[in-house]
């Protein structure tokens, strides 16, 4: 046996567990879901077959389309706001915080990760409530006369999401910023670039992979999340994952739920293709 063949065998041997794992727990279930999405319901019974009706409904039924639009709107808002908040935070930690304190600063930034996601969502419900700390403070300061309606709104959903994803984005952006050689910044400054020009033409392009990677992960996790809009949104509007859960938990309409899930995966795939040029998962 040649050395090359031996190496190839070794390579396949090392990759095999991951391939088996991905095949068994992703590819096969996904194919089963796609197959189920072409089934339809007769009464309360799932009838297997090839019926594209669920997909037609997903894109023509006003309720489904609205849920899709709501999901996209919320996800885009959350992604944009999270990037805008996380970038300065990561930059402050990377450039302003002394090196020996950076680890502690990062720890503080990710501390909320340590609490349960569900508990954190319910906590936001209390914070944003009529008697919550935000309304109480604003009332005490005389800035508002009546409590603001914040809980059970899209604002609450976005707030809950942003709180979570700012932490994630801070980590991915920080990982890029810290790798940036100070010499680039000095060279740009020597050549007469102002602070904004240094940021615009040197720092931002070099950290873009980290930003896009974080933004992509935010997009994927946010658009598929059920818990936050369910708890914080107060069902004032439906998102796609909520609609999928309604089909599964209430109606038992697994074919439609599968079709909607495939649509969701299609959106995530499109998001990946749009950002693939910059996505660097090794920077996460």
């Amino acid at each position: 046996m040649t050395l090359e063949r031996q190496e190839r065998r070794l390579g396949w041997g090392l990759v095999a567990p991951a391939l088996v794992w991905t095949g068994a727990f992703f590819a096969l279930p996904f194919l089963a879901m796609v197959a189920l999405s072409f089934a339809h319901m007769e009464g309360r019974t799932v009838v297997r077959g090839f019926d594209a009706g669920n997909y037609v409904r997903a894109f023509t039924d006003w309720t489904m389309v609205k849920a899709l639009v709501n999901s996209l709107e919320i996800t885009l808002i959350v992604t944009a706001v999270s990037v805008l908040l996380a970038y300065p935070l990561a930059a402050i930690i990377a450039f302003r915080v002394p090196a020996r304190w950076q680890r502690l600063a990062l720890l503080m930034a990710v501390l909320p990760f340590w609490t349960s996601y569900v508990v954190r969502s319910y906590a936001w419900l209390l914070v944003l409530g009529q008697k919550g700390v935000v309304n109480t403070t604003l009332l005490a300061l005389g800035l508002i006369a009546e409590p603001l309606q914040m809980a059970s709104t899209r604002f609450a959903t976005v707030t809950g999401f942003v709180h979570f994803f700012v932490m994630l984005l801070t980590l991915t952006i920080y990982a890029n910023l810290i790798q940036l050689s100070p010499n680039y910044l000095r060279a740009a400054a020597d050549l007469g670039a102002g602070r904004w020009q240094v940021f615009r033409h040197v720092v931002l392009p070099l950290t873009l992979p980290g930003v896009v990677t974080g933004a992509f992960l935010t997009f994927v996790l946010c658009i598929g999340d059920y818990i936050t809009p369910q708890i914080l949104g107060g069902n004032t509007e439906l998102t796609l994952p909520q609609l999928i859960m309604l089909q599964m938990g209430r109606s038992g309409n697994f074919p439609l739920a599968s079709a909607l899930s495939v649509v969701l995966m299609g959106i995530v795939t499109l998001a990946y293709l749009a950002s693939a040029r910059w996505v660097r998962l090794d920077r996460v």
Binding site: M41, G43, R44, W62, T63, K66, A67, N70, Y122, L125, L126, G129, Q130, K131, G132, Q149, A151, S152, Q230, I231, G234, N235, T236, E237, L238, L243, L246, M248, G249, R250, S251, G252, N253, F254
Partner: protein, 350 residues
Amino acid sequence: MTPRQMLPATAFGLIVMAVPSFAQELNALVWCDHTDPALVAPFEEKFGVKVNVKEYEGTAAGLAILDQSQPGDWDVMVIDAVDVGRAVEAGRLAEIPADALPTGDFFPELVMPENNVVGGKTYAVTEKFGYNTISYDKTKVDPADMEDMAVLTGGKYDGRIGIYDYYLPVLGLVALGQGMKTADINADTLPKLKEPLMALRKASKQVSDVVSSQTALATGEVDIVVGGGEWLTAVLAADNPNLDWTIPKQGGLRWAQSIGVVAGTTQPDLALEFVKYIVSPEGQARLATASCYWGMPANAKAGDVLTPEQKTVLRWDQQPEFLKRSQLYPIPDAATDTAMQDMWTEMLNQ
């Protein structure tokens, strides 16, 4: 074996002995009230078994779990009383001996043979019931207003109403508000409920699950919960005595949950013992006051076990009147059920 080698072996042996071992395990597919250790522990002690509980929400989800399981995986199942027939039709419940159940001690309306008995065979027994009506904070609203459902969409309480996120009871309440019996909801009559449902939605602030509804009522986020009842406010009563509930003049919905033995169980005797324990006066009192939510026990003999304070919260003495004024959940056929859920989804996304 040297003393040094014996030490870890002895320690291991002591640990093994310290962990309680059960000869048998009982697997129960339940609602959250059955997860209360205070309910399950006495049975475990008496029979020396471990009861593994898995919580589920919605009959469709429960039946899907059974679909994906092997026969014998599950021994008992708690199910919405109106869905017993559906589970029997799907072959998911086993017959249980009617004479082993103390239904003679039950509130007569809660024996519910029309639900628990199919083709002359008993498949389940009612274990707990209550009402989906109107819960409210009596310091924030006029309690007299809560006696009339029409007030809710009259503008006075706009933005102060929460709706319990379950289509069957709320659509049932909307039907009662329109003078329609819950049993008369079908594909032909359902469209009449759309406008009043949307009007209720317009007047409301949120549509939420049990915990969120409780949180909203307790924190003053909303002052009224449509679809609420003793199950929503009773667990909060100790900390917030201002929370109350009533059945308006148009009536209320009566919910009931049943328990049965899952078809294919490998230990039918133990499963039946669990069912018998749950409907015994002691089991019923514990189930009625379980930590997740309270509700009336189906067995009236539980009144001998409950404390006077617990009975006050449950409105024990008013049950004859409440039972008279309440109607059962609608039992839609598959097509009507789908139409009801579509209407509900549309309402959520309004």
